[in-house]
């Protein structure tokens, strides 16, 4: 008997193509799993509306589920349950940090400069840091500098 938990376990193999240590489940973008007689319908929502990785993620979901013997897979991308960075799981946050990306601080859905100014450095743990640019190499990252270890680092930015 196929369960949602089992499908989630399989989907844990599907990683964010730009952050290969983070699964889509831990990223929090899988919003629904509907197991039907003839196949599985997965609903997902993008982190950023213009995220160019969405089509890759859709294809990866189909590929992984088919590998596990699911004959029909449908992936629906919608905005019914809007993503925000609070949806990244604890496991996902640890994976980001180990990857060298500061995880986004939990927030009350109102992002302002205050919560971006002293992000904890993923290299040395210091909060003696500042925001260099709210925009980084991908739509979901910002650039920061640590005054203690003198490293420039990126953050998966809160949204």
């Amino acid at each position: 008997m196929l369960t949602e938990a089992k499908v989630k376990e399989w989907l844990d193999e599907v990683k964010d193509p730009e952050i290969p240590v983070l699964s889509l489940v831990d990223l929090g973008v899988i919003t629904n799993i509907d197991i039907q007689d003839e196949g599985i319908k997965v609903a997902m929502t993008p982190t950023f509306v213009g995220c160019p990785a969405i089509d890759y993620m859709k294809n990866d979901i189909v590929e992984v589920l088919k590998k596990h013997g699911v004959s029909e897979v449908e992936v629906d991308v919608n905005f019914e349950q809007s993503w925000n960075s609070n949806k990244i799981t604890e496991k996902g946050r640890k994976a980001l940090k180990n990857f060298g990306l500061a995880p986004p601080p939990k927030h009350d859905l109102i992002i302002d400069l205050d919560i971006l100014e002293h992000i904890q450095c993923p290299n040395c743990g210091s909060t003696n840091t500042d925001l260099r640019s709210p925009f980084g190499p991908t739509a979901c990252r910002s650039i920061h500098h640590c005054y203690d270890c003198k490293e420039t680092f990126e953050q998966f930015k809160p949204l």
């Binding site: 950023f48 509306v49 905005f79 809007s82 992002i111 400069l113 640019s133």
Partner: protein, 252 residues
């Protein structure tokens, strides 16, 4: 039953604004005055083009052509963007002031749209609103810093502000369906948006050495919403759609 014509008109003008300014932002890629600004304008370009695609998708769901066709196959007189967004980038001060004036309005517009009576638009607005926080944050930081820095930075921004304010007022060109849009709860209307925008702009400018021109004495530059554009839009569209027109199936 929502008035479809009114809804489509609203969606087209918002999507076209995002697409055209997104394209202008992308023209800064490789030309930014410093690396971080190069990345910032490129990132905002990516966000805006993505947002326009999502808005065109809503139009597709309402029976219009698919997003690529709508984006690449129309001529200038079929676009509903405000003239503000089609103006060439000029120097950095000009692009920065336009970015500030436009994104302040856009952030407020999408905030208002989170309570739209058309659920797909309300859902999308909730998403876009969060992304635009970073755009307004970026604009505000630079306007505050350069608006009170040196004589040259202040005079450059002031000059661009004076030039751009009439175009910025053109964002709020009323729709022929304004009454239905408001009474049906699709959107609270351009006039209310303009008031909120003016408050926000006035507040930020008051923290700098810049002076906001008296907008009651200014004639807004209208026309964009009904397809009447400057000479600058068609060349932009020609460049943007060049690859698509050679090979609509091209992928890269």
């Amino acid at each position: 039953m929502i008035n479809q014509e009114a809804l489509k008109e609203l969606l087209y003008k918002m999507a076209d604004d995002q697409l055209i300014l997104g394209h202008r932002n992308s023209e800064w890629t490789g030309f930014g005055p410093l690396l971080e600004e190069d990345i910032a304008f490129s990132s905002m370009a990516q966000d805006k083009v993505g947002q326009s695609q999502a808005l065109y998708q809503l139009l597709y769901d309402l029976g219009e052509s698919d997003p690529d066709t709508v984006a690449f196959m129309r001529n200038a007189d079929q676009f509903h963007n405000s003239r503000l967004v089609e103006l060439p980038n000029g120097e950095y001060d000009f692009s920065l002031v336009r970015h500030f004036l436009f994104d302040t309005a856009e952030a407020l517009r999408f905030e208002m749209l989170t309570s739209s009576s058309y659920p797909p638009l309300a859902q999308l607005a909730t998403k876009i609103k969060g992304e635009l926080r970073y755009h307004t944050m970026h604009a505000n930081i630079w306007i505050k810093q350069l608006g009170s820095a040196t004589d040259e930075s202040v005079s450059r921004l002031q000059h661009s502000l004076n030039e751009l304010i009439p175009y910025a007022l053109g964002i709020f060109e009323p729709s022929p369906h304004e009454d239905q849009i408001i009474t049906e709860g699709i959107f609270q209307g351009e006039e209310l948006l303009k008031d909120q925008w003016l408050d926000a702009v006035t507040q930020l400018i008051s923290k700098t050495s810049l002076e906001l021109p008296d907008i009651t004495l200014i004639n807004p530059v209208f026309g964009g919403r009904i397809g009447e554009h400057t000479m600058h839009l068609q060349p932009l569209l020609d460049e943007m759609s060049e690859v698509f027109k050679i090979d609509p199936t091209a992928d890269w």
